[in-house]
Amino acid sequence: MIDEEVIQKMMKSALLRLLGLVALIAVSQPGSAQLRIEISRGVSGAVPVAVVPFAYDGRGQPPLDVANLISDDLLRSGRFAPMGRDDMISRPTTAQDVNFTDWRLLKTDYVVIGRVVEDGLDRYLLQFQVFDVFRGSQVLGYQFKATAGNMRAVGHRAADLIFEKLTGIPGAFSTRVAYVSVVRDQEDLYRLIVADADGANPVVIAESGKPIMSPAWSPDGRRIAYVSFEQNRSAVYVQELATGSRKQVSASPGINGAPSFSPDGRWLALTLSSVDGNLDVHVLNPATGQKRRLTRNPAIDTEPAWSIDGKHIYFTSDRSGGPQIYRIPVEGSSSAQRITFEGRYNARPRISPDGKTLAVVHNDRGNYRIAVIDLDRKTTQVLSDGRQDESPSFAPNGSMLIYATGSGGRGVLAAVSTDGRVKQSIGAAAGDVREPAWSPYPAD
């Protein structure tokens, strides 16, 4: 028997939790800047998969339709064709209930089932299993602890594992994307936003009436460096995502731009200018202020990106006339070596997670497009088809590149698989979105 006091307490606590949730949504929803991701080109022969609605064993409603989340993740990858729920003849939630003959008739290759079990106050277990329909056997089974608050993240994690099991490529659904949103009204409003890779949970981490640009993740995914003109001149800031605390790390006279964290997270490469406006790449230790100039050329040297081993820096330079990519060792005094030769415009290098390819902005017959350059074979492959595509950023599994493009006179984002087969269009309801930066895998 429960006395009235306990019931009152429970209701009060539930109400407080609800209020807290409402407050969280109010601060974290930049509304119009939320991204919507759609597949504009999928792989022909995408793998048919059925993600059956998960069972729920607990009070009230489950905190989230996890099966739907997993199904959407797999769909957006372009490599899977999830079955609609109305087409499912049965909705098994346990292994014994899976009738492989039925699923074979429905021509699906894999079936995902699962359940959410309430395991205490705001404690849940998420269990799921993946079956190979033709072999008639389980290929994957997992269980996670979760709370109502992190159920989305756990669902994305499950989708990561399913994706990896079925494609051999680690999933990147549980990563995040930072981007800049600009709304031009009577006054311009620039916002730096961090959202889940599916566009959900957008959070404004910086806001200014003056330009914000060039967001870059630290390798542990806990900090973001960016450029802000909030003091009417450029300065580089590093911000902790968990606490929101921020440090101005570079505000030299002239240009402070293009920050990029070293693979060990201890150094920032960035662009600084001399008094006569010559831009050069420098490395800076943001903790100590120690600073070293790396390039010494009267041309524009900018947009540094570290090699995977942290020993070299790739950068854009117009020392030969137009912008091309060069590479310079971080230690020692060796001169820069030119990397790109195909086309008259190659800029803003980003190295793939396996270190084998370079994504660049490439002038393709008058159009600025995203291209990947194979560093061994020296071949250039154009992946995008817009007129002004820019700011390519690799997913941490190397399978996709997110970039900025234009659509209907507005800045939008898009993503393309590095083999060019899958394309996503990523739109926001209002204003321009630009400069996407895909996060590394979260540090556990």
Partner: protein, 181 residues
């Protein structure tokens, strides 16, 4: 051709153009070769003695030239695609700005360099800076003190005109000259 050389060449062309024009007024007539006293010397006119009013001539501040006010009203310098070379048509405008800064040493200018939206953003910050520096060098070669000039580059971040047309791009490749006391 390196950017630095381009700037030097552009500056040289600009200075030559400015010299050859001398004190030519916008209407093409020969001016006072920079001698403001001659242009503003009203005491030699006979109007006061005879009781009729003479034609008069434009009065300008010492160090300035007739027509400078109109030239100084022009505060945006436009550039061709992917270059920081100052077009010769701006030589008189910049010479007038230089004279004003020479006369009023308490004045300073902020040169804001911009690029059109094409290409990568941080590279365009570099391009906007090169343009601001080209204007800075031109002013300094006309005798303006470095301490009177600051530069900033916004790259493609603050377009004057939105849109992806040739017209919009032309209006956005620019250096804005902004005065402050």
């Amino acid at each position: 051709m390196s950017r630095k050389f381009q700037i030097l060449l552009a500056t040289a062309v600009f200075v030559l153009a400015a010299c050859s024009k001398g004190g030519t007024k916008p209407d093409g007539s020969e001016g006072a070769e920079g001698d403001a006293a001659a242009g503003g010397d009203y005491s030699s006119q006979s109007g006061l003695e005879t009781g009729t009013v003479g034609q008069g001539t434009e009065y300008v501040e010492a160090g300035m030239e007739p027509g400078d006010e109109a030239l100084i009203a022009e505060t945006v310098i436009y550039f061709d695609f992917d270059t920081a070379r100052i077009r010769t048509e701006y030589s008189e405008v910049l010479a007038a700005h230089a004279r004003r800064l020479g006369v009023k040493s308490g004045l300073s200018v902020r040169l804001e360099g911009h690029a059109d939206e094409r290409g990568s953003r941080e590279y365009n910050i570099g391009l906007g800076e090169s343009r601001a520096q080209a204007v800075r060098q031109a002013l300094m070669l006309q005798g303006v003190s470095a301490t009177q000039i600051t530069t900033v580059s916004y790259g493609e971040e603050r377009p004057a005109v939105s849109g992806s047309t040739e017209e919009a791009w032309e209006r956005n490749r620019r250096v804005e000259i902004i005065y402050s006391e």
